[in-house]
């Protein structure tokens, strides 16, 4: 989706505003030769930033901090899922030993 189409999804979001978010790295659409292409994940992120600024009235200077912390949480969760999958692939006694140690 092009930038103009993303802006049209919101009643109160302007092109310069969204362009500024991309420039600050808050949203990182795919960079194609014809300009940025926004995928579903990018649009969901635009919606999140919009919620923070309009719905929660969070200051612009706080937003990169929240986004960075959020992304770290998501990365950690992805990592933890990787660990769980690895545990899952172990023989039963190993799995049980790990579970016993955690509980």
């Amino acid at each position: 989706m092009q930038l103009t189409a993303v802006v049209a999804l919101f009643s109160d979001l302007g092109e310069p505003e969204l362009t500024a978010w991309v420039e600050r790295g808050w949203v990182r659409p795919e960079q194609a030769g014809t300009g940025p292409i926004f995928h579903d994940i990018d649009i969901a992120r635009v919606r999140l930033i919009h919620d923070m600024r309009v719905g929660m009235r969070i200051e612009d200077e706080t937003i990169p901090m929240i986004l960075s912390l959020l992304d770290q949480v998501y990365d950690l969760r992805a990592g933890l899922r990787a660990v769980l999958r690895a545990v899952d692939a172990q023989p039963a006694p190993v799995r049980e030993a790990i579970l016993a140690a955690i509980n």
């Binding site: 994940i41 969901a44 919606r47 719905g55 992805a78 990592g79 933890l80 990787a82 955690i102």
Partner: protein, 310 residues
Amino acid sequence: MRDPYEILGLDRTADEAAIKAAYRKLAKRHHPDLHPGDKKAADRFSELNNANDLLSDPERRARFDRGELDAEGHELPPRGQFYRDFRGGPGGGFGGGPGAERYAGTQGDSAGFTEDDIAAFFARHFNARGEGANMHVPGADLQYALTLGFLEAANGTSRRVLLPDGRALDVKIPAGIDDGHTMRLKGQGRPGLGGGPPGDALIEVTVAPHPFFHRSGDDVIVDLPVTLKEAVLGASVSVPTIKGHVKLTIPPGSGDGTRLRLRGRGIREGHQYVELKVAVPPGQEPALAEFLRDWTPSHPFNPRAGMEEP
């Protein structure tokens, strides 16, 4: 849909500012993207948005208050996916959907998680849990949001709050409670496990702003408009305080910005300060204009002295 006032933790008399403040606070707490593992967060957030949508439209709110409008069946259209849904949120895949790598902390490697991290995670996790195998687990704390009007917070009040687990608690709010203060009710949280103590109920208080009272510590500040005549000749006028109206004597010759103190009329031991705002009569006042044209002040002064050198 539950009662929108209950969802926002508001009284039925709450004004627009209180609704906004309550919504903002709860949106920060319940936004699904801030709760990647909680499936119910999306329902809570949509409930919150519907409540806010209904109460912030004065016409629909009035119809709801009169019982003409049901909270049911007027919800906002369902919202698309949240950001978390692309980053492996509830039910999501391992690394998230397409494009997730553009937002992962370390680009390129497996979602920014290294082998060292995993080893450190296990080492820490096992030690911490290993020692406490027979530990008594204390109950979890329960969170609750409560929005108070300015006057309720200033004078203190008592409120019945419905805790998330369905219990009702009568909470005494002390006079002068601050916006953002969290009250801790010992032992009113979830029960503990294995003989552990129950958790606490944490009640986070939001104080809605007041149209003319402002607060500075325990002092209350009010801007009081007075007429030109009252300011020049002096007068006795009625002034609102947080405990009701009182008479205030305006000394003759008071100017705009004059600050008068009402001793002990603030919060707890605080005072109320009244700042005068002199209002020039609206419309044409030929007699006043006539008088001013011929008038020579006995104490001429330049109110802009000191502004001559920028």
